[in-house]
Amino acid sequence: MCLTKEQWKNKKRVEILKNIEIAQNVYKMDLQVGEMVKKIQPGQFINLYCNQGQRLLPRPISICQVDEKREILTIVYGVVGKGTREFAQYQSQDKVDIIGPLGNGYDELKKEQHSILIGGGLGVPPLVELAKRLSGNVEVYLGFRSDPFLVDTFKQYTNQVYVATDDGSYGYKGTVLDLLNQKKHVKEQAMIYSCGPKPMLKNIVKWAKEKQYPIQVSLEERMACGVGACVGCVCKIQNVETGEWEYRRVCKDGPVFNGREVVWDE
């Protein structure tokens, strides 16, 4: 059980190769991470630490994509607060500390199955690496408030990419759920992979339940450690049979959970 020196993980200082704005207040950052790329599961995340010492807590950011050959890990993040505002100022060649990969990613199905990927806003990025790795029939539904991103990236991996924007400025006008309802989904077996804001996920789970699709959702919560030690980042997970729930750690027990087991009431 005791690990050897070589096995210990560690905080790692890595170089930023690129950090560019790809939509309003949305940035894409390429990191030269080394061997870590080999161990990655779509849906996992990294902890990105701020260089400014007054900000102690790492920011959990999903892995968007990896380039195994060049050992590059790509993340896409929105500028929503002090930490992400700091990240947006980084230049290529700057360095940042990270740990990862962290958490449990999506359970990928075997080949030839049907997959439906549903992402909303900043929940879109973690689906990229998943879309890349899935084979079989892959449908992608993306919802944005207004300014879409990563759409072309998905198109490299499947030709079924559908986009909705709240203001209709791109693709379908409406929510991603409206868009889903427009399509007829009669496949008997399809795995739903979803990531996005809570209200969206809640609705998607409801939809999936109706259609009797299994659904995996990736959750977010404010974190401190990111490794399961502080029990700070909990969500309510329910035993579907007994109805009993307990608080589970998003960082360690998730961030991907069985959508049917998540209690959304708060």
Binding site: L3, N10, K11, L56, P58
Partner: protein
């Protein structure tokens, strides 16, 4: 250079421990470092029955610190004994169990149950700001501090450390009360009570509104309290509150602490406690300190 210390008859290979609640039961951070290098692992608060804890968000970041309102979520003492003690006993480090309760009786029950198992010390948490009953209510009234200490002490096989709350006018009063109650040592400080507001959502960041404030931001308060308490009582002190480096730990030792615990720093750097161990060693080497007793309480 010898960084061994003794608290209540228990010898620790070095003074560095993990602050309760920030290190789980060691398993997670065990992936980042060699737990054998730690003086002790102080596990998260354990109650007699499982506690669900508080709703999320439970975490807020502040300038140089953070707030938490975990609310002592824990699987109960039986699950702890079954899962965590065998894990920790693989390592050559001391085990200190932080005990939580809603009533004096519950504290006593946990202490009694732990008397049957192989752990080294107990740390009585009467200072958690995140639970309504128990917790801080016990820790801000000297009469209650003495009473709960005295009662739990009756049921404790292992030495009993009392963990004090900093949210009081006079910390020495609480320290003396714990001493009168028969404490074998003191831990301080637990978290300050703090708040952060999300001005865009127009709500407190934490679901519980207020939470426990920790991290390097609070170090000056913690150091001052360790200093005051060390002058006021004759008990060994485990000092904590914002320790990030070996230098920080030396400050606590100079203020009078025997042991030191590292908490929030782990979230910034998973290996923080080991770096504190190394930093203390380096200070001792550089300045020719042969035994930490030479500098303990020196100011």
């Amino acid at each position: 250079m010898n960084s061994k210390i003794t608290i209540a008859g228990v010898e620790f290979k070095n003074p560095v421990m993990t602050a309760s609640g920030t290190f789980g039961s060691g398993r997670e951070y065990g992936e980042y470092m060699d737990l054998n290098q730690l003086g002790a692992v102080v596990v998260k608060g354990v109650a007699i029955t499982p506690w669900k804890g508080n709703p999320a968000p439970r975490i807020a970041e502040t300038y140089g610190g953070m707030l938490n309102s975990v609310g002592l979520q824990n699987p109960g003492v039986e699950a702890f004994i079954e899962n965590d003690i065998p894990f920790l006993r693989q390592y050559d480090t001391k085990i200190i169990v932080n005990i939580a309760g809603r009533t004096i009786e519950e504290y006593c029950q946990v202490a009694e149950r732990l008397g049957e198992v192989d752990v080294d010390l107990l740390e009585l948490n009467i200072s958690c700001p995140n639970v309504k009953e128990g917790g801080v209510a016990f820790g801000t009234d000297p009469f209650m501090v003495e009473k709960v200490t005295k009662e739990v002490k009756k049921y404790s096989k292992q030495p009993l450390i009392v963990k004090l709350s900093p949210n009081v006018t006079d910390i020495t009063e609480m320290a003396r009360a714990a001493e009168s109650g028969g404490a074998d040592g003191l831990s301080l400080i637990n978290t300050l009570l703090g708040m952060a507001i999300d001005i865009y959502r127009r709500k407190p960041v934490l679901a519980m509104k207020v939470g426990g404030f920790s991290g390097p931001a609070i170090k000056p308060v913690a150091l001052r309290m360790v200093y005051q308490v060390n002058k006021a009582v004759n008990l060994p002190i485990i000092g904590m509150g914002g320790i990030m480096t070996g230098e920080d730990a030396i400050e606590f030792i100079m203020a009078g602490a025997t042991g030191v615990a590292v908490g929030t720093a782990h979230f910034n750097n998973p290996r923080a406690s080991l770096e504190v161990v190394e930093g203390i060693q380096k200070y001792m080497d550089t300045y020719g300190v042969k035994d930490l007793a030479e500098i303990r309480g020196i100011i």
